[in-house]
Structures are given as C-alpha cells and as structure tokens.
C-alpha cells in the first residue's frame, strides 16, 4: 500500500515538474514587444532589445525563426492619422524598402526580401506612375491577443522576413524600414496608404500570434484596393455610394401626410453603402455604415435601410450598433442578418430613447443647442450567388422611416410602402409626395447642413427653389449656400465619430 502511495506521489510530482517546465518553456516562447518603433515613416530597430530595455536573446530569435518556417515574423501596430478613407476601423501604410542586417561572430548578412499579407498598386510622391508595394493594414485598438506579453496591445498586421541563417550566434540584428511616401494628391488609394507621425510599435511574433493576427485581418475589410499577396481576393473592386469618403444625408418630415414645418430635420441620418465586386464585376458583398445626426421631432421612429435583391437571392451577414462615447442609451449589439428577400434592416430603433438631448425635446436641431453624438451602425453582407450590377437596386436605395406614433412609413418619393404592420396601405397613403409634388424625405450630399428647427428648407437655402425650377440646370451648388442663421452649425467633424 505504501509502495502504491509512493508511486502515486511520484507521478504527481513528475507531472508538476513537467507542467512547470512547460510553463517556463512557453514563457520563453511568447511574442516580445520591441523597444524601438517606426516614427514618421522610418525606423531603425534593434531586434535584440525589448520593451523596457530588456535584452532579447539570439536563441529566442532562432526559436521563433524555426517556429515560423525560416522567417522572422514581426507584428506591427498601425497608428495612422485619418486621411482619405482612413478611419479608426481601417488604416494602412505601404513599405518602400527594408534591410535586415545580421552580424554574427563569423560574418555579416544582409536581407532585403520581405512580404506582407496584402499589396496595392501605388504612386510614390511626385510621381503618377504606379507600381505594386506591400502594405500593412490595421485599425485602432483592434488586437485581443491573449496569453502572451502582447495581451492588451493593439498589434494589427504581420511582416515576414525570410532568414536562412542560424540566429543563435548573432551579436547584432538590426532592422531598417522605410514606409512609402505616397502621392497623396491623387486621392485614394494613395491617400489611404500614406504615413503620418506614427508611432508604429513592433513585436517579434510566435507562430500562434502570427496565425491570430493573419486570421483577424484587421482593417482589411474597409481598405481600398487590397490585393492579397498569397491568394487572389474574392472582392477585387468596390463601388461606393455616394463615395468612399462621404455620406448621404437623408432628412424626413415625420408629420406625413402633413407637410409640417418642412425643415427636413425630424430625423437626419448619414449613411453610405459600398458593393464589393468580384473580377467579373458582379456584386458579392454589400456593406454600409452610418450615423444618427439630428432628431427634430418628438415622434418616435425606427430608421430602416432597404436594398432589394433579385428574386431568389440569398444573403447573410452581421449588423453592429455602436454607442457613442459618453452615451448610455441603447445597447451595443451585433445581430446576425439572414435574408432571402432583399435587405431590409432596422438600423436605428426607437429614436426618442436612443438619441435624445436631456435639455431639450429636440436633438441637435435648435440653433443654440449643444451637439449630442448619435449612434453609429455598420453591416456587412455576403451574397451566396454573385449578382450583376444591372440587377442590383439603384442608389441611394430605400432609406425609410417608420413613425411609431402614426404607424406610417415615410419613403423617398417614388418608393412604395413595404411593411405589413404599417397603416399606409389601409389608409391609402402609398405615395410619398403630396398633390403639389412635395416629398417627405430627401437625400442630400454631406455638405448640406440641415435647417434649424422650424426653418423651411427653402428659406434656409434660397437657391434651392431655382435649382428645382430650372430642372436642376442652375444653382447646382445651392446646398453650399445656406443662410447661416437658418442652418445648423454642426459639421461632419462633429457627428462622424
């Protein structure tokens, strides 16, 4: 019996030793953040010096080189100022050149080959000729690597440098890297892939963290003109409505069928949509994002975006609602979208409880009101079968309002009611312009500033009438010439958070 107990204790002790040894080994093989960073597009990085001036052993680099199939894998935290279509959820830089210098006891080795997961055709500053460059993509605060010293950091993308020598005898490993200064005057994609101040943090990655970051593909979805380096991408181009960097503003009169004060601010929403196309120029993804901007009515609404699809189309994806900083109304949520009858998503529900000014019955429409940030949405939908552009619904699609107080839908002129639960059809309210041709919903460019409360849009924009009466031949810039006392002082920079 004693003998059995002794054996049992011996086994337990052995297991504990093995576990401790394993923990020690794994600790040695965790990714390591480097001390040096890339600043203003260039970096001179000592790969043997970690964050906090901690030395990194050549043996560690050799271990992860072997683990990554003969390559040093660096994690990069993209940290760029927004320009072009860059934003917090998608930022990018391009690498112009890179030199890895390894000095061992015996010799000096230079490596200049490298690769990333993505590339793009770009023009360098002062040039309009484009060529392919490897790119790095990311987004703000994207990373959630756990179980390593990178936990809680925001590393985004990976940089691969093939190295075919043993690093365990290295006495110096120095990386010089230079980002591409793009010709920003060309707009996107150059403006997107420019670099700003940085700093870009770097880390030496284990294969586990490489897999994690590569699978995460931070910022890739919204980046322009992404070419996958290893596999041909499914989405090879995008059409943007109204453009990659701007939004439609849709304003409503919620007293429908009455005209109300005709200030088109009872609800104002910004939105944009892009179609992802395959090589055959067929639509395979639909994505959209937008913001609540103003609510100048006391009625409660739900705001929908409807994009019809050809009969028999199948689509699925996800919708996300984001709570603005400082707000406690509504819940941030992610919903699964599954549709076979076109896309019709309630993007902002119950606007009075979602978007309110504690000091006023209206939100952002009184001339002296403080600005209240509205909620944000995004969705990404994948079509099971590609759809030709000719078969797709036309922009600006069908952004419509359901007014809970009246149980009526309000669409753009020319659209028809679509909800079974609304009273439009039973009350004969199926047209969304009145007998004089007045609409109850209008889509504007993002430069348009909605009228202040009670100000008729024609008073706020005196050139609008001539624009309409000339059949849109004159006063084309009417929306840039509002009467300052009659229109909101809030700008895009205020609502696009």
């Amino acid at each position: 019996m004693i003998n059995l107990s002794s054996r049992f204790l011996l086994v337990i002790a052995s297991l504990i030793c093995i576990s401790l040894f394993s923990v020690a080994s794994n600790a040695e093989e965790e990714s390591k953040r480097l001390k040096h960073t890339i600043s203003k597009g260039s970096g001179d990085i000592n790969l043997l010096l970690g964050q906090g001036n901690k030395a990194i052993s050549p043996d560690f680099l050799e271990t992860i080189r072997l683990q990554n199939n003969g390559a040093l894998m660096l994690g990069v935290d993209i940290n760029e100022a927004s320009s072009g279509s860059e934003k917090s959820t998608s930022q990018g830089v391009a690498i112009e050149e890179l030199t890895l210098t390894i000095i061992t006891d015996e010799d000096t080795y230079i490596f200049t080959e490298f690769s990333t997961k993505t590339e793009c055709s770009l023009a360098k500053v002062n040039s309009e000729n484009r060529q392919s460059y490897q790119t790095l993509l990311g987004r703000t605060g994207s990373n959630s690597i756990t179980g390593s010293s990178l936990n809680g950091t925001s590393f985004d993308d990976t940089l691969k440098i093939p190295v075919d020598i043993d690093l365990s005898t290295a006495v110096s490993i120095q990386l010089e890297i230079q980002f591409l200064e793009t010709n920003e005057s060309l707009g996107d994609p150059e403006e997107f892939y420019d670099y700003s101040g940085g700093f870009e943090d770097l880390a030496l990655l284990t294969s586990t963290d490489v897999d994690f970051l590569d699978e995460q593909a931070a910022g890739r979805e919204d980046a322009p003109l992404v070419i996958l380096s290893e596999n041909p991408t499914a989405v090879s181009s995008n059409i943007y409505y109204p453009s990659s960097t701007s939004y439609y503003l849709v304003g409503y009169e919620d007293q429908y069928p009455q005209l109300g004060d005709y200030d088109f601010n009872d609800l104002v929403v910004a939105y944009r949509v892009s179609f992802g196309l395959n090589e055959e120029l067929k639509v395979i993804t639909i994505s959209a994002e937008g913001y609540l901007i103003a609510r100048g009515g006391s009625y409660d609404h739900s705001w929908h975006l409807r994009i019809t699809l050809p009969e028999g189309s199948q689509a699925d994806g996800t919708y996300q609602l984001y709570i603005p900083p400082g707000s406690s109304s509504g819940n941030e949520l992610i919903q699964y979208i599954d549709t076979s009858s076109g896309i019709d998503i309630t993007l902002f529900n119950n606007t009075t409880s979602l978007f309110f000014d504690p000091a006023s019955a209206f939100t952002n429409t009184l001339w002296d009101s403080e600005h209240i940030l509205g909620h944000k949405f995004s969705f990404e939908i994948t079509l099971s079968n590609p759809v030709s552009l000719e078969e797709m619904d036309e922009a600006p699609f069908d952004p419509y309002l359901f007014v809970h107080n009246t149980n009526l839908e309000i669409h753009l002129a020319g659209k028809a009611p679509v909800m079974d639960e609304s009273d439009n059809i039973s009350k004969g309210l199926t047209s969304f312009s009145d007998e004089n041709g007045y609409p109850f919903a209008l889509v504007f460019p993002e430069d348009w500033k909605f009228p202040n409360e009670y100000v008729d849009i024609g008073a706020a924009y005196p050139q609008l009438l001539e624009y309409i009466q000339s059949n849109r031949q004159s006063k084309l810039e009417w929306y840039k010439n509002g009467v300052s006392s009659g229109i909101t002082k809030h700008k895009k920079a205020d609502w696009a958070w």
Binding site: D261, E453, P462, N471, G486
Partner: protein
Amino acid sequence: MNKIKLFMLPLAIPLLMNCGGGGGNNNSTAVATSSTETTTVDTGNNTEDTVIKTTFLKDNPISQVSAVKVFDNYAIDIDMSEINMQGELLFLKIVDKNKKALFLGQVIHHDNIKVPLNIIADSFPLVVELYSESKEDKTISYEVYYD
C-alpha cells in the same frame, strides 16, 4: 400695404403651426430667415396685382418637369478593348471632381465596363484612371463631363 400683410399672414400661419417637432415644449425660438419678396406685376388690364414670391418650397408647387432630387444615377461606359497594358493586373479608379473615390479596384479586360454611379450634378468632371502594377505602364487618365 394692407394687401401685402393679408397675403403674408396665410404664409406665416402654417410656418408657425406645422412644426415638425409636433409638440416639443422647448421655448427656444427658431432663427428664421426672410425669403419673401413682394413684386408688382402688370396683368395687362390696367390694374396692378401684388404677388408674393417666396423661396419656401411649400409655397411653390413643383412643376411636372422638375423634381426635388439631388442625386442622379449615371452610368459610365468604359471601352476596354483599346487598353493595352504590360502589367498583369489592371486597375480602374473613378473619382469625382473633388477626388472622392466612386470606384476603385482591380478589373479584368472586359470588352466593355459599365459602372453605375449615383452622383450630384456638380460632381463633374469625373476622372477615370486605368493603370497596372507595372511601372512600365503609364496611367491612362481622362475626364468625363455630364452628357
């Protein structure tokens, strides 16, 4: 003068009554702008009638030839048969006059590409660029004006 006031009264009443706010109890006043003009027109029978002209949309019924719409659908046709590039990858970029991207991406050599856009009248001229990944290929660029 009294006649003018009588004409203005019906205009002012709906402005004050039909507020989209629908019951808001805030006492802040709107900073309204005056868009009302008074003109005297000769009707041809030696009497003069006074007509009130405003820029308020709801005071001006919309004729059948016009519509209250800002964005238009516009399709760009690009003949790809004349494109001769050395590079393997061909890229198409369409931007508006403010360099905002309307289309961006890789395309294959179709005979013809038709790109449906939704733009405002003052977006023109649009700029179409075709280029490849090869630095040997010069970017083909041309402007598109409203047709």
